[in-house]
Symmetry: C2
Subunit: 684 residues, 2 copies
Amino acid sequence: MTYGHLDQLAINTIRVLAVDATFKANSGHPGAPMGMAPVSHVLFNKFMKFNPKNPKWLNRDRFVLSNGHGCMLQYALLHLFGYDVTIKDLEEFRKIDSRTPGHPEANDTPGVEVTTGPLGQGFANAVGLAIAQANTAATFNKPGYNLVDNYTYTFFGDGCAMEGVACEAASTAGHLQLGNLIAIYDDNHISIDGDTKVAFTEDVLKRFEAYGWHTQWVKDGDHDLEGIEAAIAKAREVKDKPSVIKLTTTIGFGSKLQGTGGVHGNPLKEDDCKAVKAKFGFDPEQFFVVPQEVYDSYHKHAAEGAALEAEWNQLFEKYGKEYKAEHADLSRRLSGLLPEGWEKKLPTYKPTDAAIASRKLSEAVLEAIHDVVPELIGGSADLTGSNNTRWSNAVDFQPPVLGIGDWAGRYIRYGVREHSMAAIMNGICAYGTLIPFGGTFLNFVSYAAGAVRLSAISHDRVIYVATHDSIGLGEDGPTHQPIETLAHFRALPNCMVWRPADGNETSAAYYIALTSKHTPSILALTRQNLPQLENSTIENAIKGGYVAVENPNADITLLATGSEVSLVIDTVKELKEKHGVTARVVSLPCFEVFDAQSKEYRLSVLPDGIPSLSVEVMSTLGWERYSHEQFGLNRFGASGAYKDVYKKFEFTPEGIAKRALATIDFYKGTKPRSPINRAFQQLI
Amino acid sequence: MTYGHLDQLAINTIRVLAVDATFKANSGHPGAPMGMAPVSHVLFNKFMKFNPKNPKWLNRDRFVLSNGHGCMLQYALLHLFGYDVTIKDLEEFRKIDSRTPGHPEANDTPGVEVTTGPLGQGFANAVGLAIAQANTAATFNKPGYNLVDNYTYTFFGDGCAMEGVACEAASTAGHLQLGNLIAIYDDNHISIDGDTKVAFTEDVLKRFEAYGWHTQWVKDGDHDLEGIEAAIAKAREVKDKPSVIKLTTTIGFGSKLQGTGGVHGNPLKEDDCKAVKAKFGFDPEQFFVVPQEVYDSYHKHAAEGAALEAEWNQLFEKYGKEYKAEHADLSRRLSGLLPEGWEKKLPTYKPTDAAIASRKLSEAVLEAIHDVVPELIGGSADLTGSNNTRWSNAVDFQPPVLGIGDWAGRYIRYGVREHSMAAIMNGICAYGTLIPFGGTFLNFVSYAAGAVRLSAISHDRVIYVATHDSIGLGEDGPTHQPIETLAHFRALPNCMVWRPADGNETSAAYYIALTSKHTPSILALTRQNLPQLENSTIENAIKGGYVAVENPNADITLLATGSEVSLVIDTVKELKEKHGVTARVVSLPCFEVFDAQSKEYRLSVLPDGIPSLSVEVMSTLGWERYSHEQFGLNRFGASGAYKDVYKKFEFTPEGIAKRALATIDFYKGTKPRSPINRAFQQLI
Ligand SMILES: [Ca+2]
Ligand SMILES: [Ca+2]
C-alpha cells in the first residue's frame, strides 16, 4: 500500500482545521491533533468500519480519544467523514451550547463514543468496550453469523500512560487477553510540564509487555504511513493479546514550536497559523478550508461503511429467522428497555421475615433477576465474598484458555482496581448491549471518584454495589468507614445514591437503578443485618422517601436511611414510653429520587409545622435540606465491634431520643416550615 | 550469617501472636502476618535501626506496612521490640479505643509511621518518606555529619501491586532513582477473591524493571532466611535505584488452610489455632505467650537502636556547634513550629490593587514565603504553569545525574499522577522535616480522594493547591468543572477547604494552612481574575467567615465564597438601585474554620432575624447549614468562555438579585432564626 499526495493533503487538512478552531476559540490544544493526524488518517481510512449516517450501528469499530484534550482531531475527522458535525460546528469549538465542547462528550457530539478528557479514563473505557464486544460476540454470534466482530481502538498520550486508572485497566486487559483492543500511544515526549524527562522516564512498552500486551514501536509517526498501517494490520492479527503501538510523533507538527510544550495547550500565534498553512499549501488568509478531494475521499470511505451496515442489517434480519430468541434479545437490549415483567422477579419481604444485611439482600436481587435480565454483567474489585455480587451459578468472564471461565461469562474479576473498574463499566455501558454493576466497599468508591463523575456526566446506566456502608462495618475501623462519601455523591449531579433500610427498599433501589436508562446508581449496603420494616414496600420506596411510621399529631419527624431507619423506629417507642412524646418516621433512601416527586407528595412526607431530626451515622452535610436538625458523625469512626461503635457515638434509641427532645424543645412554640418549602427553584 | 532455633522461635512467636489476636477479636487477617513473619524477623533484626523508647528519632529507618490489614504483624513486632504496645494491647486488638485498631493508624500506635489499610497508599507513602529522606539529607548532611541516612522499607501485597496509586508511585520512584527505598512484595498468590490467577497475571518484577527499579526474587520466603538477608543486603547496596524484592511466601503459613484465601481475612478456627501452636512447639491451651529468649533477643536489638540514637544525639549536638544555623533550622522543623515572624512575609493587598486570579495570588504567597519557610516542598501533577506552584528560582527535586535538579531541590514533578502525588505528600509529611504542597485542578483532587482522606485521618499538614476551581475555568467544560468537589471535602472531617475571594483571603488561607499542624488544607483557586475587596483583611479571613459589606437594617444577607464574593457585592448595588433593597454581604472562605469560632462571633456574622441567600457556582449541598436559601449549580457546567458560562447559569447581579428578592419575599413577615442556632451540638 503506498501513500500519495491526497493522503498528505487530508492529513494536513486535519492539522489546519485544528489550528483554525483553536485559534478562533482562543483556547484549546492544537498539538496532539497536528501530531496524530497521520495515524488518524491511516486508521480511519484503512481499517475502521463505521457509518456516519448511523453512529449507533452496533458492529461499528469503536474509537476512543483518551487524550481528549486533542478533541479537535476527532471533531475534524467526524466532519470530514460526514457525521453531523458541520464546519459551523467546528467554528463554534469551545463555545457555549455547541456540539464541539472543550473535551469530547458522548451526549453532545454524534460519533463520540465516550466522554473523555480527564486523563486515563478513555483508555479504561476502551478496555470496557472491548470486554463488552467479546461478551456480546460470545453471546450472540452463531456459525455463519459473525454479528459482532468490531475492534476497539484508542489513542492515548503520556498523561494517560501515567494515570493509575489506565495502568490498572492495562493490567486487566492483559490478563483478559483482549485481542480486539488496539491502543496507540502518542509518544511525543511532551506533557504540560514540558519534556517528559522531568517525571516520566519509564519504559512504557516494557511495562505493557509485563501486563501481557503485544507491543510494537513505529519510530516515525510523522511520516511513516506504511509503517503505521503495517503495525495496525499486525495488531489486528494478534488475537490473544491486546496490542499497543508506540508511535513516536512530533507534537504540533508543522508549527514553529513543534516538538515543544508551547503547542500542547495553547493555540498557535497568528503568524504561526499562517506559516503552518503556507507550509501545507493552504491559503494563509483563509479559515476552515477543506479541499473537495479530501471530502470526496473521506465520503467514499463513509459510503463503504454505510454499505457494510446495510449488509449487516440483512445478515441480522436473516439471523432473526434462524435465531429468533437471540434476535429478539439483542434487539431489545439495543432499545435500552428491560424484558417485560422482569420486575416481578424482584424479591419482596414481610415484616416477619428474618433480619438480613442489605449486601445479602442485594445478592438475593441478583440471584433472582440475573436470568430475566441477561444484559446484567457484574463483578467486584476483589471483594466478591464481601460484596455478595456473584450469583450462585455465575460463570466468570475470562479467556477460555485459562480454564476458569469463558467470553460469555457474566462475572468479571476486576482485581483490587476500583478506579479502573468504574471506568471499565462506563465503557461496557457505552457499548450498548450490557448493564454493568461492580462491587467494592462504599469507602473505596472514592478511589473511583474520577470515573463515577464520568458515569454521571455520560448518563451511563452503571450500578455501584457499595457494601460496608458505614461505621456499621465495625472492626476494620476509620480507614474503611465512610463519613463523607454519601455527601460527596449526593452532591454529584445525575447520580442516584441509595441507602436502603431493608429488603423491599433494596429491591426498589435495583428497580429504579435498572429502569433509569441515563443515570448511574450507587447502592450503599450494610455489612450488618437489618430487620424488615412495617411500611416498607417497593411502591413506597421507589418514591425515594416515604412515611415509615405515621402518627397523627406527632411532636417530631425522625428521618433516617439504611441501618438507622430501624433504629429511629425503636426510638419512637423509647420517646413514647419514657417521655410521652409522639414521633413519626420517614425513610429517605434516595434524595435524588425523592426530589423528583411532586411538591405535594414531598410535603405529605415532610409536612409543615413539625420539627424534624435526621439520623445517619455519617456526615450531616446536606441533611439540612430535609430536616431542621441533624444527628450524624462529623468525625472519623472507630475500630471495634459494630454495636460498640454505634454505642460509642450514641447511635442508640437513648442517644437519638436525647436529641429528639432537644429538637422539640428548641422549636417549642414555633410551627417550623417544612424544608421542602423554598423561595425559588434550583437549577438542575 | 546462619539462622538457628531462636530465629525460628521468634518467627513462630509472631505467627502465634497474630493467630491469638485475630482469634480473640473474632476478626482480622492472620494470613499475611504468618506468611511475612520470616522476612520481618530478618529485616527488623539484621537491618533496621530504631529506638522503641523514642519512636520519633529522626534517623530511624522507616517501615510501612502497605498491606495494612496484616497489622497484627506490625503490632507483634512493636510489642516484641519494646515499643509501648503491651500484651494487653494485643489482647484488645480491634476493640474500641484500643491502640491496636483494625488497620495501622499513625496517631494511635507508637511506632506506626503512617496510616495504612486502604490498599496502595502505604506503598506511595513510602515513596514520600524516601523523597523526604533524600531531601533532608541533601539539605542538612555535612562532611563528617551523616545526620540523615535512614532507609525506608515497605511491605506490600498483591492488592497494593494492583492499585493505581501504587503503580503511579512506583513509576515516580523509579524516575527519581530513590536508592534509599526498599520494597518487599509478598508474592503469595492470594487475594480476597482467591488465587490471583483470576485477575492478576502480569509479571510484576518486569513491570518494576520497566519503571527503573532494581529487582530480585527470593523464591522461598517461608524458609530461606539467608536468601532474604542477602537480597536485602544487596538492595541496600544499590544506591541509584529503588529496590523491589519479590518474596514468594505461603499465606497463613502453619495453618491447615495455608496457601488459600481461607486464611486471608478470617481468624483461624479453634482447632486450627491449637494445631498451629502445637506445630510450632507452643502450648495449644495458652494464649499470647512470648518465650523469654525471644524478648531477650529482640530487646537486645532494641538496645542497640537506643545506643545508636544516643550516638546520633551526640553527633547532632556537635553538628550544632559547627553548623549553628542548620542545627537550629532542623531542630525547629522537628518541633513543627514555623520560623518566628514568617507571616510578615505574607502579601497583603489594598482594594485599589489590580484584579488577580487566586492561582496567581497563591503563587505570590509561595514566592514571598519560600525563603522564610524552608520546609515547604511542593510540586504539581504536571500542571505547573496552570497551578502556578513554582516560585521563580525554584530548583527541581531530581537525581543530580539527570542534570535538571538535585536532591536538595524543593520542586517536585509529580507527573500526571494526582492520586500518588497526594499519597506521596502524606509520606513526606510523615517524615517530620517538611511541609508538602501539591497542585492540580480542583476537579482532579477527586482522583486523589483516597489519599486526601488519609491526609485527614492521619492529621497530615499537607496543602492541596487546587486551581481552576469552578465553571469559571471556562472552555475546558463540564469534565473539568467541579460541582460536587467542595461538598465532598467539606464533608470530610479534619480537612480545611478554603475558597478565597481575593489576595488577603489567599494569604489568610496559607496562614491557617501552615499554622495548623494537624490538618490538611485544600485551597480552591480561580483561573480568572478577582478584584481586591474592601473589608478583606488577613485578620478577618482567618476567622473563616466575616462581614464583607455591613448595612444596618439590611433586608437580606448574601453569603458567598471565592469568585462569587465580588459578584454578590455588585449585587448589593443592583438591589439598592433597582429595587430599593438593602443587602449585607458575608464572605465565608472556610466552613471548618468558621465553625471553630465562638457562637457569639458567628451570630454577629449571620444574625437572627434576617433571611440569607448563599451564592456559589457549584452544588448547594451543605450551604443549608449557613443560609436560608441557596443559589448554586446542581447540574454539570458547560464549555465556553467563562463569562458566557456564568451568564448561562444566571450568575450575574441580575440573576442573583432575582433570587434575593424571592428570598426576601418568601420570608416576609417572619424573623427567621439564624442557621447558627441549633438544637444541640454535633459530634466532632
Ligand atoms: Ca504527550
Ligand atoms: Ca496477596
